[in-house]
Symmetry: C2
């Protein structure tokens, strides 16, 4: 899909150049990273990285979506993370990989060989620093997701999921969409995969999507294509009230012994 490596130019035209870990490097360093990098495309559904696999793969996600999954022996499984363009795949400093990585859509990767990448990491602390930043962001997202899994109801989970996707997936309408807070995108995952993200079943996800559709919070162009007429309403359904506290009168939850400041 790509012309053979052209160390000088490939990175300069790279779409994710300034959002990926590469942004930590200066022009000279970029060249040496580029020298060891290899482009690779992976079709949807193909495994990229096996759980417990001895040697990790290091790669930038250039386009597409990668899902990271964990599985119990009896088949119960969970998607512990999704990687979008500019995200980094691979656990530095870990001999074993703690999860599977699989292409959710067709994926374009920029792959770095293990040894070479780790050497670069050791030589350029800027690069390690940036990787650290990425890891912290991943940890934040993970902890946020734990709250969802532990305490949110099915509808809130599905709404939260759509919100998360809407934030990271390319919008189909580029006109004055943002202005109107209207979003239109293609879901990168099947219902089954969505349910594996949310700790629900396919049926429940489907029902909740129907529910959101009935309420007019989302519109389905087709199974995968979703239009969100008003992000604020979706945010409300997701109970994603970052900061602004308006205790939704939908259901009065007994706030257990809290750090009560009032009555």
């Amino acid at each position: 899909m790509f012309p053979p490596n052209d160390h000088a130019s490939r990175c300069t035209t790279c779409a994710i150049r300034h959002r990926s870990i590469c942004d930590a490097l200066n022009a000279t360093e970029i060249v040496s990273l580029n020298r060891i990098a290899r482009s690779r495309t992976v079709p949807a559904g193909r495994m990229i990285l096996g759980e417990g696999q001895t040697r990790s793969v290091f790669a930038n996600i250039v386009s597409g979506v990668v899902k990271l999954t964990k599985t119990l022996d009896d088949g119960r499984q969970h998607i512990i993370g999704l990687l979008f363009p500019s995200d980094f795949l691979g656990r530095a400093f870990r001999a074993e990989n703690p999860y599977f990585a699989e292409a959710a859509t067709d994926v374009e990767l920029c792959v770095f060989p293990t040894a070479g990448f780790e050497r670069l990491l050791a030589e350029h602390s800027e690069l390690e620093h940036r990787l650290f930043q990425f890891t912290l962001t991943e940890l934040d997202a993970c902890q946020e997701w734990m709250l969802l899994l532990a305490r949110k109801k099915a509808e809130e989970r599905v709404a939260s999921f759509l919100l998360m996707i809407a934030k990271r997936v390319p919008n189909m309408e580029c006109s004055l969409a943002e202005k109107r807070e209207q979003v239109h995108f293609v879901l990168p995952l099947s219902r089954s995969e969505v349910s594996d993200c949310l700790g629900l079943t396919i049926e429940t996800v489907s029902r909740q999507i129907t529910q959101l559709k009935t309420k007019g919070i989302i519109e389905l162009v087709n199974y995968r294509e979703i239009l969100i007429p008003d992000l604020a309403r979706l945010r409300e359904a997701a109970y994603d009230l970052a900061g602004h506290a308006s205790p939704s009168p939908l259901k009065a939850h007994k706030a257990r012994r809290s750090v009560s400041s009032d009555d």
Copy 2:
């Protein structure tokens, strides 16, 4: 509670010296870290760090247990992490703290002032590297916990929780306990806090503990003191079957072939 700082000796007698982030530093560097460190004890139940609080606290946990919590506006809450002796508290490079930190038991901290610690971090890449390692471990644990929240049943969750505690809390019997795989410890959390770790209610946690007791997998000395006669049985109840590197056998996945070996 502590004698005034003695830069030369305090660290050398520190119980967590070699497990904490400090182990990344050499003797000279330790002294400069020690110079800015301050001992502090926090009684159980006291807040250490507020969510969204502008400036982070940096500290080693010397003794006791700290819980990190996230709360939805209506009071639904979740404990996203527990910190044990030698763990590190605080988000480097983040202006805002994404969670509450509260002393679950009486806690002894070794606190570092923000500015000074970040300077040390910048000067000694070894220290940042170690912090990175700690963060990766935290991320691993977090992702493991997501699987628990998403897919494990109540009894498995409680068993997993006890297992996790058993691994990290000091054992009360030091004789030939390990040999027999027998563990005896004091729960650092109340039932309510346990339920907030597991995404369950107090009642369900209580019932599952009773259940485990009935099955003879655990014994209750009192509400907080637990004896585990056979760790293997608890591990089984937790569905914590380590090792497995095979994808789900039940759910038929079309993705099988690995991409790692070349075309």
